[in-house]
């Protein structure tokens, strides 16, 4: 807040020598960054440092007896050894969900951006509208839809796609479906933005230059929409990997993801060092994957 107050006073002095003025205008961009930087410092960097410290506390401590800082790096291998299945499951589920979301989201975004005509805005609202209700409520709605005595399961049992006592709820299928559904808009919106900018005359030029519709898509549409694909993929994948609501409501402990473990470490088992260590492991894994992905996808020709 003091940073905010600083800006007007320093630029409000009228008669500064030219040299000082130039100095100040060079400073201006940084002054404009100050509020945001201060916010990040207080609400991101400091908690992160606190979390890093917590991950190295003596694991034998507890909330009641207090934690001692013992630089217990062993917390990391211990946590990993105990919970690697959940960590792997997080990435597995969200990767499958991502593929499904791309398969559904790309045609959807393309249709809205290039083919919808005057329905464009209405369709965009339809994509965003579900977000007006709570994430939790929507996931609970899926619980009803997929429930054992719901009509979906009934129908699938009737056509023998499911066995007589087969179920959808409390299966990996339900969790992946929930992830796909809940994060789809985060993928569709950036994709839409990049496909909307696509100049249809480029497709005409491609077609004039002997490219079949499929080739034109592969060589023109897809590469030009890559920024949207990348942004959408990240916006989808990162929250989906850390999610625990879908596994909690639509799955069983057998489908638990790393988010569920961290949730219970902090709120149920009160094992702060372990929860903190797992949080850092998740963050490091996501960062590594994003880094590799950007290196690969960032190259000029993806296909």
């Amino acid at each position: 807040m003091s940073a905010l107050a600083h800006v007007p006073t320093s630029s409000g002095q009228p008669a500064a020598p030219p040299g000082a003025r130039r100095g100040r205008s060079r400073l201006l961009p940084y002054l404009l960054l100050l509020p945001g930087a201060a916010w990040l410092l207080v609400f991101f960097v400091l908690p992160l440092l606190q979390l890093a410290a917590a991950s190295l506390y003596d694991p034998s401590g507890s909330i009641s007896t207090g934690y001692a800082m013992t630089w217990a790096f062993g917390n990391y291998p211990d946590a990993l050894q105990q919970y690697w299945p959940q960590l792997a499951r997080s990435f597995g589920y969200s990767a499958i969900a991502l593929v499904l979301a791309l398969l559904m989201g790309y045609p959807l975004a393309y249709g809205i951006a290039q083919k919808a005509g005057r329905w464009k805005n209405l369709l965009l609202v339809a994509v965003v509208a579900p977000m007006f209700t709570s994430f939790l409520v929507r996931t609970l709605a899926w619980k009803t839809i997929l429930s054992d005595n719901g009509w979906v399961v009934g129908l699938l049992r009737d056509v023998h796609l499911l066995g007589a006592d087969g179920r959808l709820l409390a299966t990996p299928f339900a969790v992946v479906l929930g992830l796909t559904y809940n994060f789809l808009p985060f993928l569709v919106l950036p994709l839409y933005a990049s496909l909307e900018r696509l100049d249809p005359r480029l497709l005409e030029a491609a077609s004039d230059l002997y490219a079949s519709p499929l080739r034109a898509f592969q060589k023109v549409t897809l590469p030009l929409s890559m920024p949207g694909v990348i942004a959408g993929t990240l916006l989808f994948f990162i929250p989906a990997t850390g999610d625990y609501i879908n596994a909690e409501l639509l799955g069983t402990p057998n489908e638990y993801m790393i988010g569920n473990v961290i949730d219970s470490a902090f709120l149920v088992r009160l094992d702060y060092p372990q929860g903190a260590a797992l949080s850092f492991l998740l963050m490091a894994a996501i960062l590594a994957i994003v880094f590799v992905y950007l290196r690969k996808a960032g190259t000029e020709e993806v296909l």
Binding site: R201, E204, A205, A206, D208, L209, Y210, A211, S212, V220
Partner: protein, 384 residues
């Protein structure tokens, strides 16, 4: 693809395109012989691009046919047609570098070794060394040349050029015109060239078509169009014309007689597009000569009197406006050959012409005399 198809003329038969109630191209029929250079001229919005798009397959005709040889290609998808386009908007692929833009058509036809061809094409359009740049890193004129190279490299049967040189400076434009003409003659590609530059159309094309409101007004060799235009629109669009409003007054031998503004004139019947009713008597400004009085008019020439109302010196020639007694103006170009002095504004003069250089055009009743205003630049034909 395209190379195996039988060679042949490009024929448009009753081609029509309507956008809603608006008719952009109206019952267009013409034949463009294989290997010829065809120029399409016309005011903005008269349907030139729409015509090209129908030939390329990017626009579906409302009715009519597009034939290449004996084959009706109107049903073929654009990528199946042996036709390439230099787009008015360039439409370069922004994510590909110049090399890949130019190679695009070759690669889509499965040709693997493209580097040599691309390099040759780039040097032809004077863009050697630009291969690794992206389109956004080029100037407008450079982008236009890439668009040209990208289409030309495919050696299609028909090349459609939609104002391909519009963004170039005069010198580069002349060079590109020569290159284009050379390639066209060497490779035998049929060129359909849309341009706003009359001189470009006249110097490059075998056949020029002047289009107006979706229809072809006149089509023919450049000199024929210039010397003997078919309509007032063509007479004014291609070069300039003095058009005197008159009435046809019968025949006398091989001549058609005309009365205009109380005077009698005649035009050879072979140069009359109309021989009764309301007509325009047309004379090109460079065919109109100015002398001091009727006694200096050469035998056989026809004349009328007036006063010099404007003179503008443009180097190789001087352009005069002569105000007639009935108030309209005629324009006349006099070569600055050193013979004869300049005529100051206000000088009474007699304008005369050889009737064999005049022409008669049909005129809608009520239309008055027409003269193009003086230009800063000498018009086509005035110098050559």
């Amino acid at each position: 693809m395209g190379h195996e198809t039988p060679a042949g003329d490009l024929r448009l038969a009753n081609l029509t395109k309507r956008f809603g109630v608006f008719t952009a191209v109206d019952d267009l029929s013409l034949t463009i012989p294989q290997g010829s250079f065809f120029a399409l001229l016309g005011a903005s919005g008269c349907g030139k691009t729409t015509t090209l798009r129908m030939i390329a397959g990017l626009e579906e005709p409302t009715s009519g046919q597009v034939l290449l040889g004996d084959r009706d290609i109107a049903g073929l998808r654009p990528y199946k047609r042996p036709v390439n386009t230099v787009f008015q908007s360039y439409a370069l692929f922004p994510h590909l570098d110049i090399h890949e833009n130019v190679a695009f058509g070759l690669r889509r036809r499965g040709i693997r070794k493209v580097t040599d061809q691309v390099e040759r094409m780039l040097s032809l359009v004077q863009l050697e060394g630009y291969g690794r740049r992206k389109p956004a890193q080029l100037s407008g004129g450079q982008q236009q040349r890439v668009a040209l190279a990208r289409a030309l490299i495919n050696h299609p049967q028909v090349l459609l050029l939609d104002e391909p040189l519009g963004a170039l400076d005069l010198k580069l434009r002349r060079q590109m015109q020569i290159e284009l003409k050379r390639i066209q003659t060497e490779v035998g590609i049929t060129f359909v060239h849309v341009t706003h530059d009359q001189e470009e159309a006249m110097t490059m094309a075998d056949t020029v078509a002047v289009m107006n409101a979706g229809r072809i007004e006149q089509l023919g060799a450049p000199a024929d169009l210039y010397e003997y235009p078919a309509t007032a629109f063509v007479a004014n669009f291609l070069g300039q014309s003095n058009l005197l409003a008159g009435e046809a007054a019968g025949h006398s031998g091989d001549d058609v007689l005309v009365t205009a503004h109380g005077a009698r004139f005649s035009v050879p019947a072979g140069r009359a597009r109309a021989d009764h009713g309301s007509v325009f008597l047309g004379v090109r400004p460079e065919k109109l000569h100015l002398v001091a009085g009727p006694d200096q008019v050469p035998a056989g020439h026809q004349h009328l009197g007036g006063v010099v109302s404007d003179a503008s010196y443009v180097g190789v020639s001087t352009q005069y406006l002569v105000r007639t007694p009935w108030g309209s103006e005629l324009s006349a170009f006099a070569a600055n050959s050193g013979v004869g002095g300049r005529l100051p504004v206000g000088t009474p003069v007699t304008a005369h012409w050889d009737p064999r250089h005049a022409f008669l055009l049909p005129r809608a009743a009520g239309e008055d005399d027409q003269t193009s205003p003086l230009l800063d630049e000498p018009p086509v034909g005035a110098l050559s």
